[in-house]
Amino acid sequence: MRWKFFWYLVKINLKITFGLSAWIYFFRKKDRRFWSGLGILSIVLISIAPIFYLYLRLVQETIQSLAGTGLEGVVITSGAILASILVLVLGIAYVISAFYFANDLDFLVTLPFKPAEIMGGKYVGVLVSEYLTIAPFFIPPVVIYGLNVSGGLFYWVFSLLIFLFLPVIPLVFASLGVMVLMSLTNLGRRKDLLRFLGMILILVIVLGANFYLTRLPEGQEMEFIMGIMEDPDGLIAFTGRVYPPSIWITRALAGQTLGMRFVNLLLFSGVSILGFAVLMIGADRLFFRGLIGGQEVSAGKKARPGLLDKKMRARHPIVSIAIREIKILIRVPIYLFNSIFILVIAPIALFFPLLMGTGGVNIDEYIGLVEPELLVLGGIGFFGLMALFGPALSSSISREGKLFRISQVIPVHPNKQILGKMLSGFLISILVIPLIFLAAILYIPWSLGEIILISFLGFLLSFPLMGFSLLVDLIRPYFTWQNPQQAIKQNMNVLFSMVGGFLFLAALGWGGFKMLEIGFNPGWIYFLLGLFSLIIGIFIMIVLFRVAPDRYQKISL
């Protein structure tokens, strides 16, 4: 590894990843895009502020309730674990995209850089992005704990160092896993499918291990909880089983003596540096194996006579646009992973408790306590959440990137193109129905009629959510992405749609719950829910139809 080149690539990568050069250019040229960007950032911060406030209160109250027990440090352990798991889970898709699908890779591999230098540069780009992801989860527990116990200078210095090292280890794991996956699956025709399945497998292993390590021993739950509460280190050690470095972090910040804190800091930072070194050594051997070669080359095999006639499909333009959306979505592993992932992982997560035990919790008993109407409302809300968390429509225009040119040139009215995109969203949300069936079979005693009702109202509820997502992306599409992951994860539209949609769902859920509470007929509640969703959905479509022709004409690539 030649450090000069490594830092050079880090600098370039940071500029590309965060568009720093563009920002500076916009600022110097007094371009309104600079201020609109700042405005968007402010809106994002304001929109997540209420959720963030609730988190701060939770941390503060946890520390207060544990005051005097010596267990306060567990908030740091939990914060570190939450942040690290987020880095690992989100990092898999981010790393694949940045390391293997970035637009500049074809160019970079032709330059005289070593594989580890290229990958190292990309790694730091992802690492800095991850700081932004983990900051809201890790900084509050550390700051609130520090203020509560009046941490000295060492506490704050150690906190800063730990924050800087925090994403290194999980990201090393994600990178090593991805590198092995990509080099094993660089096999031509079916590689995209293999890579998608590989990503799902890695995630299932991570989540499964998490679930397995945090479950309580069957039959002795109370004794176990008493045991860990009696020993100040017990709770931290139990919580930290998921991710042992979180124990070092806790001890480095909340340890009894300065010596103990120092040793744990050294241990954590040392292992992080060692992990990065292992990654760089692995990169020199494996990185190019997954990146170069294995490209599919048109076979151009002689086609059977009549094959063209047989394979050709003539469709209505709206249907054709919907099919195009779905085909591209499922054929780009990163898009598939981000958009349909939740629909794949949800049924697996439903099975975990059955496979590994529920830690003494009787699910049937709990469900039996909930009113059946509330369960139906919950099912409808679940349907809506699934539509919201699969960001297929909130990045639908952005994902077109430079190819939006084609949508602008074809003689299909923008409103019809919008309908095609909405249709694709509805077709994808059909995948939620099997999940409802699965939940009904495993846990919730929904009748067939209730499943049909949930699915129907779920579709109606998805209508305004999907329309809103598409509208947000249409108003300000993000086309300047460098890799497919950025099209979704660095796309503020996805976040806006989720926050907006979530607030809408929460408001409807609260309304439904209150109506049940004051004794409204459930049939009326379902009817009003459906009607309200339909009216709001139609209203959003009218706005979309007003906005689309102008946007399709004015967007300049």
Partner: protein, 240 residues
């Protein structure tokens, strides 16, 4: 007919004048070559012709329809081949062609007939079933070209169409252009290959720094130039 009237476009609040007062008319059955050095304003003009850019001033009408007022009517009448062969990589060639035919409303029978003919002419009849991501630069160029011809457009607008094509495909394109022109269609294309422009175009227009500096047949341009010579020399003299 293509009618471009006093078309202007500038960037950076008027600091960069990409196209200034450009006026051109192209009649049915004409092959028109649009020439100019890099950054002269060719692609900007083409983008305004097909509705990808809104002009600051002036108008473009194709087949009697204004691109700003009746964009769909114009788009139905044109086939466009961009300078970069960027296309949906995750679709197969056939899926892309089907998509284009669907959007232009080409019937099943017509598309089958035209696809068979064009795929054979551009030697894509076997590769059309493969994913576009597996295509070479030239193959991508060809699939875009075929997609733009499926609806048998009245006007074909091409930005550097010869780039990346092998000699056989290049020849097929030139033959197709000649035939379409005999059918009364309009070919409007930008190119750096002056030899092609010299041999195939009925008229050429040369643009430099956003301004149209020459317009006419080769003979007319030779008369405008200081000495009678090849299009290359005229081009070099005018764009100096």
């Amino acid at each position: 007919m293509i009618s471009i009237k006093e078309l202007s476009k500038s960037y950076n609040r008027g600091e960069i004048k990409a196209v200034q007062n450009l006026s051109i008319e192209v009649k049915p059955g004409e092959i028109f070559g649009f020439l100019g050095p890099n950054g002269a304003g060719k692609t900007t003009t083409i983008k305004m012709m097909i509705g990808l850019l809104k002009p600051d001033q002036g108008s473009v009408s194709i087949g009697g329809f204004d691109i700003q007022n009746d964009p769909l009517e114009v788009k139905k009448r044109i086939g466009f081949v961009p300078d970069q062969p960027e296309v949906y990589e995750k679709l197969t060639g056939l899926e892309y062609l089907d998509f284009m035919a669907d959007t232009y409303g080409v019937s099943r029978e017509k598309r089958l007939e035209r696809m068979e003919e064009l795929l054979e002419k551009f030697q894509m009849e076997n590769a059309v079933f493969d994913l576009i991501q597996s295509y070479s630069h030239g193959m991508r160029q060809k699939i875009i070209l075929i997609g733009s011809l499926l609806h048998d457009p009245e006007v074909i607008i091409m930005d550097e169409p010869m780039t990346g094509l092998d000699p056989k495909s290049s020849h097929a394109l030139k033959e197709m252009m000649k035939r379409k022109c005999q059918e009364g269609k309009i070919m409007f294309f930008s190119t750096h290959v002056l030899e092609v422009a010299e041999k195939f175009c009925h008229r050429v227009g040369i643009i430099n720094k956003g301004k149209l500096i020459a317009l006419g047949t080769l003979e007319e341009l030779q008369n405008q130039a200081q000495k009678k010579s090849s299009l290359e020399n005229i081009f070099l003299e005018l764009t100096e």
